[in-house]
Amino acid sequence: MTITNGTLKPPETNADEPIAAKRTGTAGVGFGRWWWALPAVALTLVVTYLTTAVGAFYAFTDWTGLGDFNFVGFDNFIHVFRDQALLGSVRNTLLLAAGFVVFTNLLGLSFALALNRTLKCRYFLRALIFMPVVLSSVAVSFIWKFIFAYDGPLNQFLNSMGLGSLKQDWLANPALALWCILAVMVWRSIGFVMVIYLAGLATVPVELEEAAALDGAGIWQTFRNITLPTIQPSVTIATVLTLIQGLTVFDEVLTLTGGGPGDATQTLATQVYSQTFIYGGFGLGAAAALVLTVFILILALIQQFVARDRAVRED
């Protein structure tokens, strides 16, 4: 199983061998029993597919989580796109996802390029920059909550730079809180994206770069014409993964602002949580979740399509 050019493709099975194995039948070579796969398949079908299907069903009802419910057609979806707070959370989700993709990929690629070869402390720095990825996002977000606090390090730093007029409670400002969340998300994932690009950069042939340098290509030209085309699969993978991560952001929002001030930083995932588990609006929460799911499925489809298209052109 490989992700070729960022597409999930079932690996090719060797066509000759299996037939030979089949012919010998049960008396032949032992390759396991089909029912060994049963627990895994059943668990995935029930916990992932059945629940998702039931959730999609509730998105068309007015269920509160208890008692009876009525079918309300597309009312919940109309509500999601009419209600200011809910519509705001759709907007915030898209904005965070887009910003997250752009900034993590730019910074992650920059660090990957810088730490790819030559530098003496590259292994050490890679390990340090990757560190936030393995730590709990809740724990890490609390450090940033302090940094953004009114008496916190950010304001202290601005004060010492003579920028005291900017001093404020960053997370309490509806216009800035979302950007603060984005900054924390990006900070946490630079190392993750960097590692993906480092794996891609390892496949760039050194001879090709040397030949380009001999031919007088500059750094930018080499990057544009040799490095970037080679690491294209990494770009695809990193973009898709960060997009999905950005669309489903939850931990950082709940920890840093709890969706506030007001509803200024609510995202679809936090709305699912608060509508369902706090306000008891099961139907509405499910509708928000279905919108999120559709976003992600569309994205996955586009990505498959693009990758297949590219594979065809390469052949």
Binding site: I3, F31, T51, G55, L128, V134, V138, I143, F146
Partner: protein, 280 residues
């Protein structure tokens, strides 16, 4: 081509500076956790305390402390749930992936696609019915319920990862073992599975970290129960301490410590796991 030049030195300095800025939050975390409540207010957040104190940690970890119960219980639950999930996951996903990798039927390819699609399906839509289902089975707030749910959530990716490794393994092993008279079960447990060390390591690391750090599922299923995992404990604890940053950060550090210790020894394997898990 890749000689170390003045330009390299310049780049090195530049990257080191950028890294220092990126890591500044950790410096603030450590120095604040070692301060007294007064020092947090009076000294600069960037300064290291002149007389570092371990009082915050003692208050949190000493058995007499009011909060120590929560911290230990969080560590214990996280450990039980993570270990349980990783063990169950490895057993089920390796067996399933093996069958799919060796099967030659069309049907098995189709069933395998179930796992591929499940990788991209977000958990948010299913979490509500899952909660209701688990509640009716009495699995909400129970570590066993969490182990089953986490195993199911990490299953698609693990099956996908394992099957890649199995498919690259030549069939000669099975043929030789069959000639020696081993049963199918023995072939898998004694011959094939031990050869899958790297795959098992990658699955264990990726799923273990995912479960250990998970907040979304844990806060929904475990909040308020006696089995809250560390992220939920930290979330509740810091929420209840209004701006007592030195104590909060001591909790944050305690919660990070196991993963940090693990990372110090296995950072290379960890980064490979992430990159390999995605690319293999």
């Amino acid at each position: 081509m890749h000689r170390y030049t003045k330009w390299s030195l310049f780049r090195e300095v530049l990257v080191v500076c950028a890294a220092i800025i990126l890591l500044l939050p950790f410096w603030i975390l450590i120095s604040t956790a070692l301060k007294t409540t007064d020092q947090v207010v009076t000294t600069s957040a960037f300064s290291f305390p002149p007389a570092p104190t371990l009082d915050n940690f003692i208050q949190l970890l000493s058995p007499a402390g009011s909060q120590s119960g929560n911290v230990y219980q969080g560590l214990f639950s996280s450990l039980v749930i993570t270990t349980g999930t990783v063990l169950l996951l490895i057993a089920l996903s390796s067996a399933a992936a093996y069958v799919f990798a060796r099967s030659t039927r069309k049907l098995s390819d189709r069933i395998f696609r179930i796992f591929l699609i499940a990788i991209v399906l977000p958990t948010q839509l299913g979490i509500l019915p899952l909660y209701i289902g688990a509640r009716s089975l009495g699995l909400v707030g129970s570590p066993w319920g969490m182990i089953v749910i986490y195993t199911a959530m990490t299953m698609p990716f693990s099956v996908f990862l394992y099957s890649g490794f199995f498919r690259r393994l030549p069939r000669d092993y099975e043929e030789a073992a069959t000639l020696d008279g081993a049963s199918r079960f023995q072939i898998f447990t004694r011959v094939i599975f031990p050869l899958m060390g790297p795959a098992t390591g990658t699955v264990a690391i990726l799923s273990g970290l995912l479960v250990w750090n998970d907040f979304f599922t844990a806060v929904i299923f475990l909040n308020g129960s006696p089995y809250m995992t560390l992220p939920v404990v930290v979330y509740n604890f810091v929420g209840s301490l209004v701006s007592q940053w030195n104590l909060s950060f001591a909790v944050v550090l305690i919660a990070m410590a196991p993963v940090l210790a693990f990372y110090a020894f296995a950072q290379k394997k960890l980064m490979q796991g992430y990159a390999g898990g995605i690319k293999s």
